[in-house]
Amino acid sequence: MFLQNLITKVTEQFSDSILDTTEFRGETVLHIKGECVLEVLEVLKSEGFHFLADLTAVDNLEMGGFERYSVVYHLLNHGNGERLVVKAYVPENNPNLPSVESLWKTADWQEREVYDLFGITFDGHPNLIRIMNPDDFKGHPLRKDYPRIGKGERKDFPIVERNIGTKIGRSES
């Protein structure tokens, strides 16, 4: 009931930015526009959703959606145990949305991960650099149009020789 009231309240307050509200496997999903994510989450946090359980992204290339990418925020209310999923959609040509690092410190590394693997940038993030791939890595491998076996990164290394003779240990078999 609490969640229903909150959803109604938020939908009225941000009527332009809320795209849809759906229900999946007992969890409420709030679909919103990317640019207003900070304001919406700020309200949700002040209403009891104190805990950012997860922050990730989805590439809707084949699945379809309001936009190409959605950044997904899983919120948890410790007070009554309710959960809420917020999906913020960002377009393909300018995948950019405000950072929520100011609300939850944990978003720092998770936004870096989303940036590393999806190429979505976060405005106001204090240190938006790659977190898992090497710093000189090109591309964003979790995008659906990135080939699974990569673009030759795994073949791109100098060959280290033993630098001392060539037949060591293999004189006879």
């Binding site: 898992m132 791939n133 090497p134 890595f137 491998p141 990135y146 080939p147 699974r148 076996i149 990569g150 673009k151 990164e153 795994r154 073949k155 791109d156 290394f157 100098p158 060959i159 280290v160 020789e161 033993r162 630098n163 001392i164 003779g165 060539t166 037949k167 060591i168 240990g169 293999r170 004189s171 006879e172």
Partner: protein, 163 residues
């Protein structure tokens, strides 16, 4: 000293085989355990398999003190430069064991970030199959490596430009 005494007190051999005998029975491994194989490697050190029976129990975590690099686990594109640096830091003579399917071929991880076999980029002497290899397999690999070391010649160690 009479002849009988000489016979029972001296042993004749070549320097080469004496050195190789010492080398093969005192391998100091440097474990490069990046995944589940690394955990399996620890089992070989424990009492049941006891790699100490083959003189290779002195695990060194510094490449400068070891002569056997055991690569146990998948190597990612971020880890490969580290592995190469560690290999280059090891003093001669040195050998490399590629342990498990991942180190030898990438295993099931046919993705952009996993090296499909470390032997593309560093020299490997022994490959141990398995996912993970059983301790017996690792011991078998070690014994095979000892057989290789036995047959090494000093002349093999000529510097590439010296001949």
């Amino acid at each position: 000293m009479d002849r009988r005494e000489i016979k029972s007190n001296f042993l004749t051999t070549t320097v080469e085989s004496a050195v190789n005998w010492a080398r093969k029975n005192s391998l100091w491994p440097m474990p490069f355990g990046t995944a589940c194989c690394g955990v399996e490697l620890m089992a070989v050190l424990a009492a049941r398999s006891d790699i100490a029976r083959f003189g290779a129990e002195a695990i060194r975590f510094s490449p400068r003190q070891s002569d056997l690099l055991i690569v146990a686990g998948r190597i990612t594109i971020k880890m490969m430069p580290v592995l190469q640096r560690i290999y280059q830091q090891m003093p001669e003579p040195k050998w490399v064991i590629s342990m498990g399917a991942c180190a030898s071929s990438g295993g099931v991880f046919d993705t952009y970030s996993v090296i499909q076999g470390i032997d593309q980029f560093i020299p490997v002497d022994i490959y141990i199959p398995g996912c993970p290899p059983r301790p017996e397999g690792i011991l078998d690999g070690l014994i095979k490596l000892q057989k290789l070391i036995e047959k090494e010649k000093f002349s093999d160690y000529s510097l590439p430009n010296s001949s």
